[in-house]
Amino acid sequence: MRNLTEEELRVVFEKLAKFIGKDIKALVEDSNENYCFRLQKDRVYYAREVVAAAATNIARHNLASLGICVGKFTHGGRFQVHITFVTYLARLAKYKVWLKPQSEMSFLYGNNVLKGGVARMTENTPKNQQVVVFNQSEIPLGFGVSARSSLEVQQASSTDLIVLNQADVGSYLRDEDHFVGCGL
């Protein structure tokens, strides 16, 4: 486990900024405790500073996880956000999509969101924008990319794609092994 380098931190923040805008500071400084990012193998973890300090006891080879996993660096050096971070994204997200009850299970099976399944959407959502997907009772279900802007959505037919699924909480069941930031 180590701190992220400047370059790595820049890549991570640029990615997160696509969800939450420039307000990264809100993520790092909570009301009473400071949070930090740590790299273990290729995964980036988000934890309170106390927890991160306590994790230095554990040898790199034996540390499986600390705090919450944000995502991982790919071999190409890009950063991929994981579903495990969705609750924090949801709290600060700028653009949101709410699903109708009948389409939430479909989204949880990894499918994209069609116009018919969208209950409402943040106004002025541009095209190709990272959005967080909620159900009607404000439970964050995942995130994706908007395929249409909110203006275009109004003209779209009910079978048109609105949000492309990037990650959803169904993957806790579907591929537990693959995505969980298990540094082992």
Binding site: A54, I58, A64, T87, L108, I139
Partner: protein, 572 residues
Amino acid sequence: MGGTGRARRAKRIRKFGTGVQESVRIVNKKLKLSEEDALQPDVPFRKRQKKKKNKPTFETPREYNKKLKQAKKDNADQQNLASTKELSRDKEKYYESLESPFEVTSDTNSDTENFVVEQEDSASQESSLSGNIGETSFSDEETKKNLFEDGSMEDSGTEELDIERENRLLEDEKRLEEEDSKAEFLSNTVDNIVDAEQVATLFDNDIQRSIADRKSRIALVVQILSDFKSRKDGLHSRSEYLSLLKTDIGYVYGYNAFLIEEFFDMFSPLECMEFIEASDKPRPLVIRTNTLKTKRRQLAQALISRGVNVDPLENWSKEGLVVYESRVPIGATPEYLAGYYMIQASSSFIPVLALSPQEKEKILDMAASPGGKTTFVSALMRNTGIVYANDSNADRIKSLVANIHRLGVENTIVSCYDGRKLVSILRDLDRVLLDAPCSGTGIISHDPSVKTSRDRPDIQRNSVIQKQLLLAAVDCCNAHSATGGIIVYSTCSVLVEENEAVIDYCLKHRFVKVVSSGIPFGIPGFTKYRGKQFHPSLQEARRFFPHIHNMDGFFVCKLKKLKSGVRYNATQ
């Protein structure tokens, strides 16, 4: 409302009968009692007084008390002729004045005074219960009436208050139920009376027996063994019966000889059968609300709207919900995936409750996968402090990490070490939870392969690992912690070798003491078992059994570390 309570009840009885009559009829038939000897159902209301003496009937406690009193009086009459006159005089006085019935009766029965007074106390309590709205004068009067006239229930009916009527109705209902259950019990015992024909062929090895035959033989042998003195046939010894029972249980329920032997060492034959039968039944499905994300009531509402029938778990748990039936898979609802609850047996709540984690502490869970207890600990700490979740198995760590992330627990550090080597890495922890790897003899309903796959060497191996882990857990803990210094040891096994013996070993080798776990139920741990003596404080440990508590069989013991270092005994 359909009239007074009594009228309603009478109507109901006219329509359906009391249920007692029917059961008594069956009992009479089974016992083949003739008309005269036949048992009589307890007939409610007015007919109640016309019962003949000496016939066995189902009596209410109040009537029984009265009868007893009467009998005592008669007894006193015979024994003490000198006091007869006094008695009759007293009786007259008694009937005339209706003033002080308690004193009079106690005078007349000086030899049985205490007893009678006690009886009367209970009687007066009972009657004051019927008027418990606080009108003492009224209830006093009623008490007297009850003492003198058996039919007072009817006579006072016109004057009674609404509330009293309701009360009486409730009492009647209760009495009715009691009678029913008594009759049922009697009919059961009648069923169980040993059949001579069956007994004759009990030890006959030539007969080919089906599973059903063997089951009935098990039932028969268990009955004989439960009252061996009066039911033995004189030809066979108790051990012969026992070995017969053990082979049958092995055949019917599929246990290996070792486990049967262990269970019979622990329980009486009757209780052992209850345990084995309960071990085959599935336990209720329980979920734990993740209090980091939601509240139990909100979760229950959300689940009910999805067609899941839930109910709060018993009152010792604020987080648990029992799932009765569900139209959707309970492990794949959006609420589950978003981490609003965890599917977790009710038994695994208890070690965590015993640990009682406090906010901002450092806590270690030595064998954490799949994370039900770890996430519960974090939820009780409200995500403050630090929780080290360790597991030695890298494959199981995946589910542990997944559950931790799903439930939004951010104060954990997951490590993969052999728990015995953690001592060199983690020290000064406030609390340590050790849910030790075990043979799983308490969770046979989850994993029936335990029935055949465990043998004595397995248990011994487990026991050694458990002792090492517990010593490691004690060493990791900080005795000078301001808030904690607590170690909780739990297993899902019922065997003494994996539970009390391990704690006893630890008590001998480390400076720890057993403290009360604060769990309001459960059975005290053994302090002696088959010739082994354990430390007397082990009675503070708690055992849970499937046939008694309807949860997995398991063991919880809470230890407090007094000081660090190794204890050397005089014997060593």
